[in-house]
Symmetry: C2
Subunit: 416 residues, 2 copies
């Protein structure tokens, strides 16, 4: 079906794959460091798991069979590239951290691998950062993870974002209270996962529930707003009140965490992964179509690795977050305060060494000033310098002025 | 041949694979940040390439077929997990950075994947950080990369290390000057790559070269020391003088970079990868058996991606560097200045929030003080606090003393 050249893009990479060039890599690293600072403030600690897992181990966590890259080792055993960071983290927490006192707080910065869905332009390598809070349940734990997410997005440089919180438990409580049996239950949940509100409404009307409860059943995936949304659920379907109150308690705690203004209830959110068993979380930012973060509660995974522990977590999509941070940024980045130094590899090496010792980045070029200027322009360095007698002649590419100085480590002060 | 359980280790991972737990992950991150600071001071900029490449693209760079994990995409096309970070970087520099002014300086922090050699306990995921200097040649470029390496190892926390520098060109110059033809030339180079000095000597004696030149041929892979080693080569085989002088010039520049004391000439180093075409570099540290870094010049790779540019680079093995840094460290790490706060998820949430705003990490636990103490012990946090009336009762787990304070953000000052 694919044309001969379609499997390789211009960079010589598989479709769905890309290189990250220096400017973007630096921005990504700054974003990652911002996330780490927030994770650290809440006591989350980094773990790193291998990219290659035994297929049988990953398979154990999935209700259905997830799309994944599979490969064989030299003995013919089936391996898999992690299709999701949550499952390896659950494996690690259950095995290596199984005896640690609850709660266990971990974070990761990792890549997940997903084969492309035919015909869709999707990334096959998903660079993510996330937190998992294991061994704690209830609104307090749910609220902390949402607060960490809000704090992390803020400290990554994204000042404006919106976090939507739904609840699989609340939806199930409504369906249970209204005695919605199969096959209707399955059709409703499938419609919700597919975000197909038309299909939901059609199935909900077939359920033939009358009055407020019937109207609520039809509307529930469209309910969106503050805690009053939950009041409507409790009034229309009193048996769902405990589940609604739990989500209301989470919202209340988010107020005390100081992040309530960014949070909205959205009962239409149900992540496609079936392991979610409580709240579900999605975060959005201006200028980015897909969520910058997704997550929720998944209490059932750990038990499959031998230790039953509740867990809640969220994964931030780093390329999406990067796009959002760049979109929110104010114009072009300033030049970096480094010096492109003519002859710095050789004749002016001693000056380069002294400047580096003072913390000034020096980019040595062997060539003439023209080449140095071209390089400074291409890479965004602020200064171009060359030796001139006992001094240096320095061009400030940002201020568009030239000055002289005795040593390169004076440059940064002069330029700032 | 392998027993039923041998493919999976206790953590449920493939043999040759491991998880990184929080303490080690934090140390690794600090090491990586140290490396980044050094790379930055020399003007190297990060790039990131995908883990999955087209097999045909990776294959183009290798003289012989390297061991690699291969997989198929949904259209049956052969993909490979990068077996080496250098080749993807060469691909990227030749394609995406092909028009950038020379020299191009890039660094990466990446994982390479290598299937295990049967019967050997080798890691299958190789976490590395490295630099590449592309479009510059000669001793000045070689010396800069060695200086960056020395500076990076230092700023990662490894104060003592040794960098050995050899030269494929110099060895070839000696063999060429002595008119060593095939099959002896091939046998000698194979012995060198295998570090089999006995086999080298046997082959060298067969060459039947007399006098100083004959003795040098026998001894050359054992020559190790300062620049005087190169004088011996020039005296015994005058035709090798230009190659010896080039390496001597590199050593001289390393003196001006301020890193000469850590550097030794070792003519026995020839990396197994055949793409090296000039200097070869290995770095060692106390307490670690394998090199903490390897590299060299490989001028021929870029041309295979359509742009002929000289290149020199070095890759640091992060797990080995971590072991060396830990081995060189002075005893146990101090506890981290964070607070494990009883009821911090709920009743004391406001105090937790205030402390985090002041930059104090707060680890909230729902349980009693005993659980909090267990968690602080397990994770290495310094303080355990609980509300007591209007104040907090704080236990300093390091100083083994208890004090009271009005707010948690005072703790760090009090404790330091």
């Amino acid at each position: 079906m694919s044309s001969a050249g379609a499997f390789m893009n211009a960079a010589g990479l598989p479709t769905g794959s890309r290189d990250v060039l220096p400017t973007e890599a630096r921005e990504l690293h700054e974003i990652e460091e911002g996330l780490r600072r927030a994770f650290d403030l809440y006591g989350y600690r980094e773990i790193r798991t291998p990219a290659i897992e035994l297929d049988a181990v990953i398979d154990r966590a999935e209700g259905e069979r997830a799309a994944a890259y599979r490969l064989f080792d030299d003995a013919g055993r089936l391996l898999t590239l992690r299709p999701d960071p949550t499952i390896p983290v659950a494996r690690l927490v259950a095995t290596r951290l199984g005896e640690r006192p609850d709660p266990v707080r971990v974070f990761y910065v990792a890549t997940a691998f997903r084969p492309p869905t035919p015909g869709r332009a999707e990334a096959i390598e998903l660079h993510q950062a996330g937190v998992e809070l294991v061994g704690a349940s209830g609104p307090a734990a749910d609220a902390e993870v949402i607060a960490v997410l809000a704090s992390a997005l803020g400290s990554s440089g994204l000042s404006e974002h919106r976090i939507a919180v739904g609840s699989v438990v609340l939806i199930e409580a409504v369906l249970g209270a209204l005695a919605i049996g199969e096959p209707l239950h399955g059709r409703l949940m499938a419609a919700l996962r597919a975000r197909n509100h038309v299909a939901w409404r059609a199935a909900a009307h077939e359920a033939d529930v009358s009055g407020d409860a019937g109207r609520l059943l039809v509307d529930v995936p469209s309910l969106r707003g503050d805690a009053s949304v939950l009041d409507r659920v409790s009034r229309a379907v009193p048996a769902a009140t405990p589940a609604a109150d739990e989500l209301a308690a989470t919202l209340n705690l988010l107020g005390r965490h100081g992040v309530a203004p960014a949070v909205v209830v959205d009962l239409g959110i149900v992540r496609e992964r079936r392991y979610y068993s409580g709240i579900v979380i999605e975060a959005y930012a201006e200028g980015v179509g897909s969520p910058v973060a997704v997550g929720g509660r998944y209490d059932s995974i750990a038990a499959r690795y031998g230790r039953d522990r509740p867990a809640v977590g969220v994964a931030i999509a780093l390329p999406e977050l990067h796009r959002a941070v760049v979109a929110a940024g104010a114009g072009p980045q300033p030049r970096r305060p480094g010096v492109v130094l003519v002859d710095g590899l050789d004749a002016a090496l001693d000056a380069a060494r002294a400047a580096r010792r003072a913390g000034v980045p020096v980019v040595s070029v062997p060539d003439a000033a023209d080449e140095a200027r071209r390089l400074a322009e291409a890479e965004g360095w602020r200064f171009v310098a060359r030796r001139d007698g006992d001094e240096f002649l320095v061009e400030d590419m940002e201020a568009r002025e030239t000055f002289r100085c005795a040593a390169l480590d004076e440059i940064e002060d002069g330029g700032r």
